[in-house]
Symmetry: C3
């Protein structure tokens, strides 16, 4: 499976992400691991899940985080075929106390990644609930990639 | 210290964990690191700590997460003696705002790991409070293992 | 940039951190990665951000976490020049629901790290809100370092 071809088939366009000059970078590589900073939805969607937003709306927001991360990875590596394995995802949902559907929300991220990468997209994960996230975004996701 | 012998001495039986076909896997290996997905108690215990459950009850739930993780590691490696070091634990407690005893809760995980592995079970850790966890479980724990 | 000289210039004294005999260690090394346990402010500052403490007060608390982590790293390595790269930071803010300024709080950590290390201090990061932290501290930070 060629992730670049798969994205074209899905009609998803990635965008360029530049490292910038601040303390926080979109990615850092150490050895064969590429650590990507927490990613939030690019649409500007805001709100707390279970109050302002439904699980389905947050699923779409998590999918946006995956597209953002693949944009970062493409900018870092030049070619998504250099990703050997998606290793570990931490999916954080801005949710009301007692919310129970964090996995269903973060599946918006995980399903997209496996659609694009197939078997090497399958990952270890936690999907958990936060009392608040920056700028009141509904979802923030971190990922660690093994790269060539 | 032989972790397999120690588990037998403690009367703890591990169980088989299969990788499955979904996007989320119980473990992913990269180099000599084995990343285990967030683990929740297998007893089905539910509730928020500081409201529905006490710190002592949550300590037992965290111990269950450790048994679950060792079951995953055994399934992944075939032999727990292949674990070189327990590297890093992230212990997440579903707790009321203002809860202060996350370390005491996650000690249920950490104490068990060191009982089984001795010095190589000693780990870096954070133990923190979440506003919600999947299916209202009281504890979820992630771990990174160094393996042969 | 020599981090030890820079700390002297800033008038910041580090302190010795011993590994101890408990299950939880201040650091664990695996390969060229040094995982540091979640660090809280050494001043004993307590409180929830957005209720008891302002963003500016929490910024100072996050700076304390950075000084604590450099003390741990110095104790582990003997010399901060052995740090090749600050790889990944997870900044956790004990905040009221709906709090939006986690990045501004954790900048207290990130700004200090880059002041001391320059380019190799720039890191991947998430900065997120927790419903509770141990002993009601306002901030807890984890870090992964690449070392010689």
């Amino acid at each position: 499976m060629n992730p670049e071809a798969k994205l074209a088939e899905l009609g998803v366009d990635l965008f360029d992400v530049q490292p910038g000059t601040g303390p926080v970078q979109p990615w850092v590589r150490t050895g064969n691991l590429l650590y990507l900073s927490g990613r939030v939805p690019d649409s500007g969607l805001k709100g707390t899940v279970g109050k302002d937003l439904t699980t389905d709306e947050a699923y779409q927001a998590a999918r946006e985080c995956a597209i953002g991360h693949l944009s970062v990875a493409k900018s870092a590596l030049g070619d998504l075929n250099k990703i050997v394995r998606v290793v570990k995802v931490l999916g954080m949902v801005n949710a009301v106390a007692g919310f129970e559907e964090q996995p269903q929300v973060i599946n918006g991220y995980s399903d997209f990644i496996v659609d694009v990468f197939g078997d090497k997209g399958r990952h270890a994960r936690s999907a958990v609930g936060m009392s608040s996230l920056p700028h009141n975004v509904p979802v923030e996701v971190e990922v660690i990639l093994e790269v060539e």
